[in-house]
C-alpha cells in the first residue's frame, strides 16, 4: 500500500503518521511471542534486574512520600549528579541548571531535541543501520530524514566522505549513535574529529545518542561533545536504561547548549511535564553508588561478547567484532537468504529469535542483530541451534 492509498483510506489521520511504516521489529515480536520455548537474542535491554540499591532507593522515596511532580527539567540533585558524572567520565562541563534536562527515557530526549531545532522541510541526516526510531521521529517533528548507510567495509563507522555527500542546503542536523545499536560499532576520538570537521564546514547541529557510552569493552568511550569545537553544536543524549539495567524506569537526559536545552524544556513542560520522581530518585542512587554494579554487568557482557564472536565465527557466520553495546551484527549473506527470510526460518525451525538487519535501515540488509544480553547457558544453546539451522540450509 502506498502513501496516497492510505490517505484515501483514512482521511481523519494525519498524512505524516500514515506515511510512517510500522516498526519492523513489531512483526518479529508478534511471531516470537506466539511461540513457546523460544531463546531470544532479540532483546534490546539488559538481562539483569535493576540492582537492588536503586530499587531500594525508589521504594524508600515512596515510603517517605515522594509521589509528586518535580521541577520540569528534573530534580536539581539529579541534574547536579549528571553534571558531575559527565565531568568525571568525559571531561564535559555542563551547567546543571541551564544545560541539562531530565527526560522520560533517552527516546523522549531525542524527540524533543528534534522538535526544538527543526522547521518543516529541514533535513536531518540519519546514520544507518540505526535504532529504529530516528527516521520516524525526524518525520514526526516535521523534518525530512536523509539516510546515510554505513557497512562492514568501514566497520559500520560513519566516514566523512559518505556523510558529506548527503549534505544539502536544507540539512540542519545529523543524528547518530555510538556505541551503536544494532552493530556494536564505536568511533574513536580521531575518527569523530574528521566527522566534526564536516559538521563545522556545513554549520550543523549534532544529536549524539550515547546511551551505550558505559558499555564499551576495549577502550573508553569518547563523547562527541568533547571533540574540539563540538561542545556548542552537540546535543548529548543518554540515560540510565542500558548501563544500570533501568529500562522500565524511563529516565533519560539531554545535555547541550543552553538555547537548545531551554527550547527542549519548553516542549517537555507542555507535553510530559516531568519525568517520574521515583525513577529520578533511583537514578540519583545509580550515579552516586551504582558504579560497581554497572562495572560487574559490563564485565559479564564482555565475557559473553568474547564467547559469541568466536562461537558464531566457528559455525561460519562472518562477524564484525562489536566494541560496545550488547549487540552483534553477523553477516548472513553467505546463506543467500534475505535477513527477513533468515530470521523467520531460524525462529520457525529452531526457535531462536533474532532481528533481521533490514529493519535498522540502509546497510542493515544481509545481517541479523543478535543481542548477547542473555545468560551463558542460553547463548550456548542458541549457538547450537543456529549451527543446526545453517547446516539445514
Amino acid at each position: 500500500m502506498n502513501k496516497i492509498d492510505t490517505f484515501i483510506l483514512n482521511p481523519r489521520l494525519s498524512k505524516t503518521i500514515q506515511s510512517i511504516p510500522p516498526s519492523g521489529i513489531r512483526r518479529f515480536f508478534d511471531l516470537a511471542s506466539s511461540m513457546a520455548g523460544v531463546i531470544s537474542l532479540g532483546v534490546g535491554e539488559p538481562d539483569f534486574v535493576t540492582p537492588w540499591k536503586m530499587r531500594e532507593a525508589s521504594i524508600s522515596a515512596l515510603e517517605r512520600g515522594y509521589t509528586t511532580y518535580t521541577a520540569n527539567s528534573g530534580l536539581p540533585e539529579l541534574k547536579k549528579e549528571i553534571s558531575k558524572y559527565l565531568q568525571r567520565e568525559f571531561r564535559l562541563d555542563y551547567n546543571p541548571e541551564k544545560e541539562i534536562v531530565v527526560t522520560v527515557g533517552a527516546s523522549e530526549a531525542i524527540d524533543i531535541a528534534l522538535r526544538a531545532i527543526l522547521d518543516p522541510g529541514d533535513e536531518v541526516i540519519v546514520v544507518e543501520p540505526s535504532y529504529v526510531s530516528y527516521a520516524p521521529v525526524v518525520s514526526l517533528a516535521g523534518g525530512i530524514p536523509v539516510t546515510v548507510a554505513t557497512d562492514k567495509t568501514s566497520s559500520f563507522k560513519l566516514t566523512p566522505e559518505a556523510f558529506e555527500e548527503k549534505i544539502s542546503r536544507r540539512t540542519k542536523a545529523v543524528i547518530f549513535c555510538y556505541p551503536n545499536n544494532p552493530t556494536g560499532a564505536i568511533m574513536t576520538g580521531k575518527e569523530l574529529e574528521r566527522v566534526a570537521e564536516i559538521v563545522v564546514k556545513h554549520d550543523l547541529l549534532v544529536i549524539s545518542d550515547e546511551i551505550y557510552a558505559e558499555l564499551t569493552y576495549d577502550r573508553k568511550h569518547d563523547s562527541f561533545a568533547a571533540i574540539k569545537g563540538m561542545f556548542d553544536r552537540t546535543i548529548l543524549i543518554s540515560g540510565f536504561s542500558k548501563a544500570f539495567a533501568m529500562t522500565g524506569w524511563r529516565i533519560g537526559f539531554a545535555a547541550g547548549p543552553p538555547d537548545v536545552i531551554q527550547a527542549m524544556i519548553k516542549i517537555h513542560q507542555y507535553t510530559i511535564l516531568c519525568a517520574p520522581i521515583m525513577g529520578q530518585m533511583a537514578a540519583i542512587e545509580a550515579l552516586k553508588n551504582g558504579m560497581r554494579e554497572k562495572d560487574e554487568m559490563v564485565n559479564s557482557y564482555r565475557q559473553r561478547r568474547n564467547y559469541m564472536v568466536k562461537a558464531l565465527r566457528e559455525i561460519g557466520l562472518s562477524t564484525h567484532e562489536p566494541e560496545g553495546a550488547f549487540y552483534m551484527f553477523p553477516s548472513i549473506e553467505s546463506t543467500g537468504l534475505t535477513s527477513e527470510e533468515f530470521a523467520e526460518g531460524l525462529i520457525m525451525k529452531e526457535k531462536v529469535a533474532v532481528v533481521p538487519g533490514n529493519v535498522f535501515g540502509q546497510g542493515g540488509e544481509g545481517h541479523i542483530r543478535c543481542s548477547y544480553a542473555t545468560s551463558m547457558e542460553q547463548l550456548q544453546e542458541a549457538v547450537k541451534r543456529i549451527k543446526r539451522y545453517l547446516d539445514s540450509l
Binding site: I25, F29, A32, V43, V49, S133, A353, M376
Partner: protein, 165 residues
C-alpha cells in the same frame, strides 16, 4: 595468566562451574591450553577447593534435610589456641563448616543431619563431651531465603519481552 584474568576466571567458575574449558577460553579471550593449565594449578594449590552445587533441599520430596548452627564456647589451649579444638570438630563428617568468631562465643559450627535426632545426638554425645567445650547453643534453620549468594524463595525470572528495540 595475569592476576586480573585469574580473578575473572575464578569469579566465572564460582558463578557456574559447569562451563567447559573451551567456553571459558572464549569468554576470557585466552588460549585454551592456558585456561586448562591455570585451572589445574588453581586446583592443585588449593584455591579451587571443590566444584559443588547449591541444592534447594526444601523442594526435594520426602526430604528431612535439617541444618543447625551451633554456638560453641571453648577453652583455648596453650600454644595451639583454638586451632586444635577446631580441627577436632571439623573432622566429623556431619560438620559443614567451622568458623572462629569474635563476640559472645568462640566457634560457630554448622552441621547438616538427616533428622533432628541425629543433630541432637551429635551435640550431646560428640560435641559437648569434648574436653575444651564449655557450652553449646543450638539453633535450627527453619527456612533458607538466601545461601551462598543464591536467592532461594523468589527467583527473579527474565521478565523481558522476546523482541525489543
Amino acid at each position: 595468566m595475569e592476576k586480573g584474568k585469574i580473578k575473572e576466571l575464578l569469579r566465572i567458575l564460582e558463578e557456574n562451574s559447569r562451563l567447559e574449558p573451551q567456553v571459558l577460553s572464549e569468554m576470557l579471550d585466552l588460549p585454551l591450553d592456558e585456561v586448562k593449565f591455570t585451572v589445574e594449578k588453581l586446583e592443585q594449590s588449593g584455591i579451587i577447593l571443590k566444584y559443588s552445587s547449591i541444592i534447594n533441599w526444601d523442594k526435594v520430596e520426602e526430604n528431612d534435610h535439617i541444618t543447625a548452627m551451633i554456638d560453641v564456647k571453648v577453652t583455648p589451649k596453650r600454644e595451639v589456641g583454638f586451632d586444635d579444638i577446631a580441627r577436632r570438630i571439623y573432622r566429623f563428617p556431619e560438620v559443614k563448616s567451622v568458623y572462629l568468631m569474635s563476640g559472645a562465643y568462640d566457634l560457630s559450627v554448622v552441621i547438616e543431619g538427616v533428622t533432628m535426632k541425629e543433630v541432637a545426638q551429635f551435640v550431646s554425645e560428640k560435641l559437648s563431651t569434648l574436653d575444651s567445650v564449655i557450652s553449646t547453643t543450638t539453633h535450627f534453620i527453619l527456612k533458607k531465603y538466601k545461601h551462598d549468594g543464591v536467592i532461594f524463595d523468589d527467583r527473579e525470572d527474565d521478565k523481558r519481552m522476546v523482541v525489543t528495540p
